[in-house]
């Protein structure tokens, strides 16, 4: 198999496997295991098959362009280090799969488990094999996500949920830091390619952004590897099923942080900052983790803190910056993976067989499960650094490195003591793990009767423990070449010669080991009394409950702070929003004016016309009056608005815009009727009772609004004046004037623009009208009036009472009398207005008028009948289907536009010509007229629909009110 295919296969196999695992039925436990196991084994095989090449120093590469624009290639890159790591991932992955077969309950939904596990394996391999830093981050984030899902596998369990979320939050923060760090590396190096980045070490270290990059990358690594102060998520992740813990939290996921440190070691390590930060974090984690591990009552908790401690150890080693330390780090990565995975599995077996992981309740299990106990003891001994086991070797190398002098600071000098102390702690907790659970009197009151697990469940542990032993006894023959291959990939030519041997003679490190062993045993027996009291955690630990602390910070930041900030920075009320809108627009417009000078003050281009001035005096009075009255005197405001509208309309006439005047006027009329129709549904408001005024203060809000209004008015006036007093610019208008008749076939230039030059605008505009009409109709169909406006208006009630009180009158005769004459006239006007509408429609192209004006006129003709005769009366006689009018109007206008296609012209291309009709003579024929007809139909339909839909509410609610009355009457009768 060519290497590139092989590399892809290594990544793809688990991912594809994950997909198929997800599809299996919920109880297909064995099938899942077969699938997952096969995948893991295949991957292992593939990885091992590359060993000869890798061992010879070759770097296998697959490079596929993915996002070449931004330097992101899909690049897989297998060197010695990646080989070692990927091997670890797949081998332990296989063992965990096997173990999980027996660990998971038949009732557990295994497809999800194995699917996630395989996906995780794929993501891990993706990180490890990444040859592009962005791709590395890509898979890195994926591992965070999948670990979240795996920790939360038993999501009905609150601890699992919280642990998962905490893990995700912490590692996601780290992941984002890493992303930024990597982006900065790209910025510095000019590439995200790992090879290029590793080669650019000196450039990076010399760059002014080195420190930020370093900190960001380290944040990514430390959060992932649970380094102090980000260690707290790992113990909380122990709510995951044990196979997950064994896999993620010993061998793989948490190793990614140190993997990254090692991977970027050539590019980043070796500076003072690196040493200071990495070593101090490493040593704190090492000590803190080990110390806290002693006091855990949960087997898995103990292992979690121990893992933290060991990761601290590896971090520390990588921080030292010496090649030998790097060798030790890589070696310990392997060793820790083997013994910690086996210990997790052992803890899981105990949990599985006894129903608890609480060291306080476990005791004397050796009698029930001697084989497991023996295996666990060997693994724990490896963890404690007992000679002849692999842990001893790497720990000795570690001790030796701490003794070396690196940069000569206090920290450097203090390291041996710290290391020894950590050794003492680790012996103590290892002893506690073994002694607390396997020795002592037989356990009482366990949920289950303990016994040995099935053999195949123990098999992974046996294999791993065997590895511990072999490596521990004959390292040079077994692990040395692999280690060398891995380390060479990191250190390259500077790889030191190292000698893996059990016995180096009586050295300082050996002394440290002895002190650690003896001290650890002593410490354990001193602490036994305290531990037996059953307190979870070290003395005074109740003061700092990291999980609670984390939760509270999260809630405070992400919820309480966010909510109060949202209220400060935003609002859900309309008034402030509008105020901001107006204010922002004011500021936006003011900035260029203020920056470049106003240039506004020029004399008017024409003299002040006293008549127009008086007319505008009227208009201004109306505008101000409307603003003043709109709250308490709605009708008055409406009337004044009408006045302002009239003045606007007169202005249009004055300033040569007859079409505008016509349209404005008609719209004015329809709007007035519309608002009047709405007025009936608004609440009564009496002057003096102001629901919006706050007691005893002239509202500063009103003052602010007043200033805003004045500024907005002034601003708009200023802009208008500035433009109007400037000479006109070279405008597109001349084209319209020149071509309106010759090419547009009409003399009314405005109308020709509307239906021809810019007919598309009109097309859109009528569609808007149609849409609004439909919306209004839809909304009103479900209209529900407020309780206090359901009643028939007071006037009508009085008049009805009057009619009922007089014997010779019947209900409604008052209104009939009042409307008798007006309705006769209104009816008579119906055909007149229709003819008028047709007139306006037909002449539009040449004179003021047009489809819209005609349509409104027609609509008013209808409305007038409704006003005069009432809804029922009209609808008994006229059947108007306004929605059809709208649809028809759209169709006509659209079809007129589309007709041009048949003449191979663009949409809306017009045709204007003359038709010779006998007797009558030449008749102008313009497609624009057909278009205007569409406009007309639509406007009629829309306007009538809106008005009538609103008018119908009255009779609907009258009906309802009457029905309610009848109900009360009948119920009263029943009561009697």
């Amino acid at each position: 198999m060519p290497y590139d295919v092989l590399l892809v296969a290594i990544i793809l196999l688990p991912l594809v496997g994950s997909f198929f695992a997800a599809l299996m039925p919920a109880n297909a436990r064995n099938a899942e295991v077969w699938l997952a196991g096969t995948v893991a084994l295949c991957c292992t095989g593939l990885i091992f098959s590359t060993y000869p090449a890798v061992a010879s120093g070759e770097v296998l590469v697959l490079d596929v362009a993915w996002l070449p624009e931004f330097g992101l290639n899909f690049k897989l890159r297998m060197d010695g280090f990646a080989w070692m790591f990927s091997g670890l991932v797949t081998v332990i992955g296989f063992l965990v799969v096997l173990y999980a077969r027996y660990y998971m309950s038949p009732k557990d939904p295994v497809p999800r488990f194995f699917s996630l596990l395989l996906a995780f394996m794929g993501a891990m391999l993706g990180v490890v094999l990444s040859g592009n830093l962005i791709q590395l981050v890509f898979f890195w984030e994926l591992t965070s996500l999948l670990s979240f899902l795996l920790i939360g596998y038993w999501h009905h369990n609150a601890a699992a949920r919280d642990g998962a979320r905490m893990a995700l939050t912490v590692t996601a923060i780290g992941g984002l830091c890493l992303l930024v760090g990597v982006l900065l590396i790209g910025h510095i190096v000019g590439s995200y390619d790992l090879d290029k980045v590793l080669a650019a070490g000196p450039v990076i270290k010399a760059h002014r952004l080195y420190l930020p990059v370093l900190i960001l990358i380290l944040l990514g690594a430390f959060t992932k590897s649970a380094q102090f102060p980000f260690h707290f998520w790992l113990p909380n992740a122990m709510a995951a099923p044990t196979p997950v813990s064994a896999y993620l939290h010993s061998a793989t996921l948490v190793k990614l942080g140190v993997f990254l440190l090692a991977r970027l070691w050539p590019a980043m390590a070796g500076t003072d900052a690196w040493f200071l930060i990495v070593v101090s974090v490493g040593v704190s984690t090492l000590l803190l983790g080990a110390y806290l591990a002693i006091f855990q009552q949960d087997l898995k908790g103990l292992l979690a803190y121990s893992t933290i401690s060991h990761l601290g150890l590896i971090t520390l080693l990588l921080g030292l910056g010496s090649p030998l330390a790097a060798v030790a780090a890589v070696f310990h990565i392997m060793n820790h993976a083997t013994f910690k995975a086996s210990l997790f599995m052992a803890a899981g077996i105990m949990d599985h067989e006894t129903g608890t992981r609480d060291i306080r309740r476990l005791s004397g299990l050796y009698r029930f499960m001697p084989v497991t106990a023996t295996l666990a003891m060997v693994a724990a001994a490896a963890m404690a650094g007992v000679p002849l086991l692999n842990g001893f070797l790497s720990k000795e190398m570690f001790f030796a490195e701490t003794v070396e002098n690196h940069v000569g600071t206090i920290l450097d000098h203090a390291l041996p003591y710290g290391a020894t102390l950590a050794g003492v702690f680790s012996v103590a907790y290892s002893l506690r793990f073994i002694h607390g659970s396997f020795f002592g009197p037989p356990p009482t009151d366990l949920p289950r009767v303990p016994h040995e697990p099935p053999h195949w469940m123990r098999f992974p542990i046996e294999l791993l423990v065997l590895a511990c032993l072999i490596v521990g006894i004959i390292p040079g023959l077994t692990v040395a070449p692999f280690l060398d291959t891995a380390v060479r990939a990191i250190l390259g030519p500077s790889t030191p010669v190292f000698n893996l041997a059990v016995w180096h003679g009586f050295t300082l490190p050996l002394l440290m080991s002895v002190i650690a062993l003896v001290g650890g045993v002593v410490l354990y027996f001193i602490l036994q009394g305290y531990l037996a009291k059953g307190i979870d955690g070290p003395p005074f630990s109740y003061l700092v409950k990291d999980r609670r602390f984390f939760d509270e910070i999260m809630v405070a930041l992400s919820w309480r702070l966010a909510r109060s900030l949202e209220n400060v920075l935003g609002t859900q009320r309309l008034q402030p929003q509008l105020r901001l809108l107006v204010g922002t627009a004011l500021v936006a417009a003011a900035i260029p004016l203020l920056q470049q000078g106003m240039g506004v003050w020029r004399p008017s281009r024409s003299a002040i016309d006293p008549v127009l001035a008086i007319v505008w005096g009227v208009g201004i009075a109306c505008a101000l009056g409307a603003a003043y009255q709109a709250k308490y005197h709605r009708l008055a405001a409406l009337i004044m608005m009408g006045g302002a509208g009239l003045v606007t309309c007169i202005t249009f006439v004055w300033l040569s815009a007859p079409d505008l005047a016509l349209t404005q006027l008609l719209v004015e009329i329809v709007t007035t009727v519309l608002l009047l129709l709405g007025l009936r549904w608004l609440p009564k408001r009496l002057q003096g009772v102001d629901p919006d005024a706050r007691e005893g203060s002239i509202s500063p809000r009103r003052l602010r609004d007043f200033i805003t209004a004045v500024m907005a008015g002034g601003g708009v006036a200023l802009l208008a004046y500035a433009v109007m007093t400037r000479p006109s610019v070279d405008s597109i208008k001349q084209y319209f004037i020149d071509n309106a008749y010759t090419k547009g076939g009409g003399t009314n230039i405005v109308n020709v623009i509307l239906v021809d030059f810019r007919g598309f605008d009109t097309f859109g505009e009528i569609t808007v009208l149609g849409v609004v009409a439909l919306t209004v109709y839809a909304l009103l169909r479900r209209f529900r009036p407020a309780a206090d406006s359901i009643e028939i208006p007071e006037q009508q009630r009085t008049q009805n009472r009057y009619d009922e009180a007089h014997p010779n009158r019947e209900l409604g005769s008052t209104i009939a009398e009042s409307l008798m004459v007006p309705s006769v006239i209104m009816r008579l006007l119906f055909p007149v207005i229709i003819v008028f509408a047709v007139f306006l429609l037909l002449r539009g192209h040449d004179q003021p008028g047009g489809g819209f004006v005609a349509g409104l006129t027609m609509a008013i003709a209808f409305i007038l009948q409704y006003i005069g005769g009432g809804t029922r009366w009209v609808e008994a006689r006229l059947r108007i289907l306004p929605v059809r009018w709208i649809g028809l109007g759209l169709l006509i206008a659209g079809a007129t536009g589309a007709a041009a296609w048949f003449f191979a012209r663009p949409f809306l291309t017009s045709y204007a010509g003359y038709l010779d009709v006998p007797v009558i003579g030449k008749v102008p024929v313009a497609s624009a007229l057909a278009f205007d007809l569409g406009v007309f139909a639509l406007v009629v339909g829309a306007t009538v629909l809106i008005l009538i839909a609103l008018a119908h509410q009255s009779i609907r609610t009258h009906r309802a009110a009457r029905a309610a009355d009848a109900d009360t009457v009948s119920s009263a009768k029943e009561a009697v």
Partner: protein
């Protein structure tokens, strides 16, 4: 003349904005209407003002000497009027629906807390 129109536009805008910022829906709709008058006049003014020069051709020939007012803003205003009308209608119905469903005519659909 420009001055009068500018002051008129300003007053309409100012009154409209004042109403726009008021708490009652009816005030807002009147405000929007006043603003739309102002905007229409503003657009219209952008073609510069001219008396007695309506954009209607005489005798069906373009008289090069005749100076017509700029027809483009007029066409724009016509479109704006129509759309403004539609929107006023819509806003009215929505405010009525809001009044019906919430029982109040406050713009936020609830009476302000005291």
């Amino acid at each position: 003349m420009e001055l009068i129109i500018a002051i008129g536009i300003g007053t309409l805008t100012g009154s409209g904005v004042w109403l726009l910022l008021r708490p009652r829906t009816f005030q807002v709709i009147i405000g929007l209407s006043l603003i739309s008058y102002a905007v229409n006049l503003f657009i219209f003014g952008m073609g510069r003002l001219r008396t007695g020069a309506p954009p209607i051709l005489h005798n069906e020939v373009v008289d090069a000497t005749a100076r017509y007012v700029d027809p483009v803003p007029q066409a724009l205003v016509l479109t704006a009027i129509v759309i403004g009308f539609a929107m006023t209608a819509l806003f009215l119905v929505v405010l009525l629906a809001s009044r019906g469903l919430t029982g109040t005519d406050h713009v936020d659909g609830r009476e302000p807390r005291r």
